[in-house]
Symmetry: C2
Subunit: 199 residues, 2 copies
């Protein structure tokens, strides 16, 4: 006799919806929840709701924040003339970790990808353009990923910004620091040669 | 400037508590939650609470169930004279999939493991012994895993049951069906030779 417990099945389903989580992992996660005590289960459940309800997009740059503006947009010490356009909120954290970049950000929340049904209107491109109005922004760094979709999105945005007299740039391509040349792919090596610098 | 969003950090922490989920995966899961819409986040949050509140241990065998007794213990068609003792609820599903075993189960919810601070009293051994009282049970199959802890637990329970006149047995060891002899480990091969059958 095989039998199903509806609440458990539902929980397994919820976990297996997470990208990269298979059926077996979802099951393991659901059983982990079953082993929690009452308080811990409540904490877990509330953490999901709380994160979802208290965190929203920054009115200016679409980064995640708790207030109306994110701490970066609110900061008086950041360079207001440069905007770094990224695909994802996690990319902001990656740039912030370098402690080098002092400008602002703009999070697209995706890339243009016709195959996945994502068009320009599904991203925050309109919001990006509206930030150009006051003439403060001089340069936009298009830091989308070096994938087909990322390149296409950068190109698309670049074409919209250029007529407004704004400099657009793209991150440098090349060999990652610490990598072995032997294992670099052809495209990366080609870009590294093309972008070589006189020393 | 690096900044932390408390509700997001909390959610990442919750996910990273799941065994086998690292920091990066937990982050990915938390961002997945952020991308859900209001209803979906509520559904996820409620699935955790609902599974935890509606599913509890069967009064008889400690398997998960929604009512007082699990469907297996409630069933009139199961053989009441055999109990298969397993470590985990998932093991019950594994046995049920064979559609061969017709007896009852008893879920220990762990194994004796001094290194992890798990003693006999942390398992459902007392509950197992109390099921022996009425003389209906003739055999107990000790189907804990073939690990050091699993073996020790089986041995421990066996010593408690034998004085009560109950037959205790252990699953057969050997080459798994479909496996390649070349890759079988020494211990398994030894057990397979030891347990060979005349054909």
């Amino acid at each position: 006799m095989s039998y199903q417990l509806a609440p458990l099945t539902k929980l397994i389903e919820q976990f297996s919806k997470i990208p990269g989580v298979g059926r077996k992992s979802a099951q393991r996660m659901a059983y982990y929840v079953m082993d929690l005590d009452e308080t811990q289960a409540k904490e877990f459940s509330e953490a999901i709701l709380s994160a979802h309800q208290n965190i929203h997009r920054c009115k200016n740059c679409s980064n995640f924040c708790e207030k109306e503006l994110c701490p970066i947009c609110e900061s008086a010490t950041r360079d207001q003339s440069v905007i770094c356009v990224v695909e994802d909120v996690r990319d902001v954290s990656a740039f912030e970790r370098t402690r080098e970049y002092r400008g602002l950000y703009h999070v697209l929340h995706g890339v243009i990808s016709p195959i996945n049904g994502v068009g320009p209107d599904d991203l925050t491109i309109k919001e990006l353009l509206s930030r150009m109005g006051d003439g403060v922004v001089k340069e936009v760094i298009l830091a989308t990923n070096p994938t087909v979709e990322g390149e296409a999105t950068a190109m698309y945005i670049s074409r919209l910004l250029k007529p407004m007299g704004i400099t657009t740039s793209r991150l440098a391509y090349g060999i990652p620091v610490g990598a072995d040349l032997e294992y670099a792919d052809v495209e990366t090596l080609y870009r590294a040669i093309e972008g070589r610098k006189i020393i």
